[in-house]
Amino acid sequence: MGRPRQPNQLVHAGLPVLLLLVVSEAPVEAYLDPGAGSLLVQLALGGVAAGAVFAKLLWHRLTLQFKRRDSDAENP
């Protein structure tokens, strides 16, 4: 009570690695390079709320894979 719930760090440790399967490819622009790894770790730190974002990322990536396959099948 009172103290905020700590995230299960071990569970979250695998999250960024999974995340890398679902991100697309494009250049990053900023004066300070935040580093892809540091951005992904922020999802692992984000606890339950970040889980929803992760699920959405995963969903986008999966649907993208299927779309690509359909497109490949139509244009062999």
Binding site: L32, P34, G37, S38, L40, Q42, G46
Partner: protein, 467 residues
């Protein structure tokens, strides 16, 4: 008209540059930076942080007449209140770095509440008015893009969190690490010095282990993680959550030096009470002669003479090579009304060198803060005997500073010097008061000399000879 000379250390963010003009500090802004500044100056947190001294006082310059000609790409200019002495994180103690980190996080949290963020997270953006940390880089604030993660997270870890963890968890001084790399400590390097049991300590598993692993594996990825996170609904609320957690972590960090260090510290003072009163009166007289802008108290220890000097000086820089002494002084001065003592960790036998791009980005301390008066009390024997610096070289160093000096000679009969000389008697041959006076009187006009009651110590007040 000659080209404007920008501050060599202000090049990193292309949206703004700093220049000095007639001892005033200006920041020129690009179109993007101007948009951000206008947004910032309308926020409620901006006025609140400026009011309590946590943000540097800043005004827009409407009339640029009298200022040097600027490149047309700079479409606006701000003027900042000058900082008394510019200092760098490798000169701060643990408590100072932690307070600077908390300021950085508090500003970010306040900015997020009003639709802004900070584009970086470096302690070089924090300076000090005495022991009050002040954030100086207005161009760091930018309007937050929807779904943007915390861009400065890795930089915060490398330059704030890891040095603090190193000191708090391993009792390893962070200053040499930060002095060794202006980018801070790499996650991988910190991970390698941590033991298995350290992984149970707060913050290590995620901010060190996980970050180092993910970063090392994917540092060359071309994937646009930022855009993907935005599309997936990453929000300011998530960033805020992460920053709040980081704040709790940093706030809970403590440096508890081993007991032996503390006890040695409290017993190493060998002065008699009479000597101490006499020294205090001597310093009081010199300081009371006239108001000076900047006084260095080198080897300040508990800051007794810094406090005396602060009564009639613009700014006192209290320097000691003992991190623990500075940590204690910082903690003590924070509780006092004095607001013009800046405690710094520094060793005159190994001073902070110029660092960074072309050796100009982060100048040496003496080039940032040339003193009007240097107090060197109970210092010389540590340098001359403890560090083997020849006695004439020490006096030459005093003279090169261009400052007035108050210097104390401690004879070899003194218990402190005896301790330094144990097993090293060969060094004592040239260490005599006659030899010291010969070189001192040649380089300075000595206007006061006072032997202390104990008979082993003598004070001198010297004015530099202008050649």
């Amino acid at each position: 008209m000659p080209a404007t000379r920008y501050e060599p250390g202000s090049f990193r963010d292309p949206a703004a540059r700093i220049f000095r003009h007639e001892n005033r500090i200006f920041r020129c802004l690009s179109a993007d930076a101007l948009r951000d500044w206008q947004h910032l100056s309308d926020t409620t947190f901006f006025s609140a942080f400026v009011a309590d001294g946590r943000l540097i006082d800043t005004i827009p310059v409407d009339d640029r007449a009298g200022l040097p000609e600027l490149d047309p790409s700079w479409i606006a200019v701000l003027e900042h209140q000058p900082v008394p002495v510019v200092s760098y994180p490798y000169e701060w103690c643990f408590g100072m770095l932690r307070d600077a980190a908390l300021l950085q996080l508090d500003l970010l949290l306040a900015a997020l509440d009003e639709g802004m963020t900070l584009k970086d997270a470096t302690p070089f953006n924090v300076q000090w008015f005495g022991v009050q940390p002040t954030f100086i880089d207005m161009a760091s604030f930018t309007i937050a893009e929807p779904g943007e993660p915390w861009v400065g997270y890795r930089q915060f870890c490398q330059l704030f969190l890891y040095p603090l963890l190193l000191q708090a968890y391993k009792d390893v001084p962070f200053q040499p690490w930060l002095r060794g790399s202006l980018e801070g400590i790499e996650p991988m390097h910190l991970r390698r010095v941590l033991a298995l049991r350290d992984y149970l300590r707060a913050g290590v598993l995620t901010h060190v282990y996980l970050l180092s692993k993910v970063q090392a594996r994917y540092q060359d990825t071309e994937r646009d993680v930022k855009t993907d996170l935005r599309r997936a609904g990453f929000s300011a609320a998530l960033v805020k959550n992460n920053v709040s957690r980081m704040r709790r972590l940093v706030d809970g960090l403590r440096w508890d030096p081993p007991d032996s260090t503390w006890s040695e510290y409290t017993t190493c003072n060998t002065y008699t009470d009479g000597d101490q009163q006499q020294k205090a009166a001597f310093v009081q007289r010199v300081v009371g002669e006239r108001r000076r802008d900047l006084v260095w108290d080198v080897g300040c220890n508990t800051g007794l003479y810094s406090r005396i000097a602060a009564e009639n000086t613009g700014q006192v820089v209290a320097i000691d090579g003992d991190h623990l002494a500075i940590e204690r002084l910082y903690g003590a001065v924070k509780l006092e009304p004095t607001r013009n003592i800046l405690p710094l960790v520094g060793n005159v036998a190994d001073p902070t060198p110029p660092l960074g791009w072309r050796g100009l980005e982060r100048p040496a301390l003496l080039d940032r803060a040339r003193p009007d008066l240097m107090l060197c009390l109970a210092l010389m024997h540590h340098i001359v005997i403890g560090r083997n610096v020849p006695l004439p070289d020490f006096v030459e160093w005093l003279a090169e500073s261009g400052a007035e000096v108050v210097v104390e000679f401690v004879t070899r009969d003194d218990p402190m010097v005896e301790r330094l000389l144990r097993n090293r008697d060969v060094l004592a041959d040239g260490y005599t008061i006659e030899r010291f006076e010969a070189v001192l009187f040649e380089a300075f006009d000595v206007v006061a000399k006072e032997p202390l009651g104990s008979g082993t110590r003598t004070l001198y007040h010297g004015l530099p000879r202008r050649s």
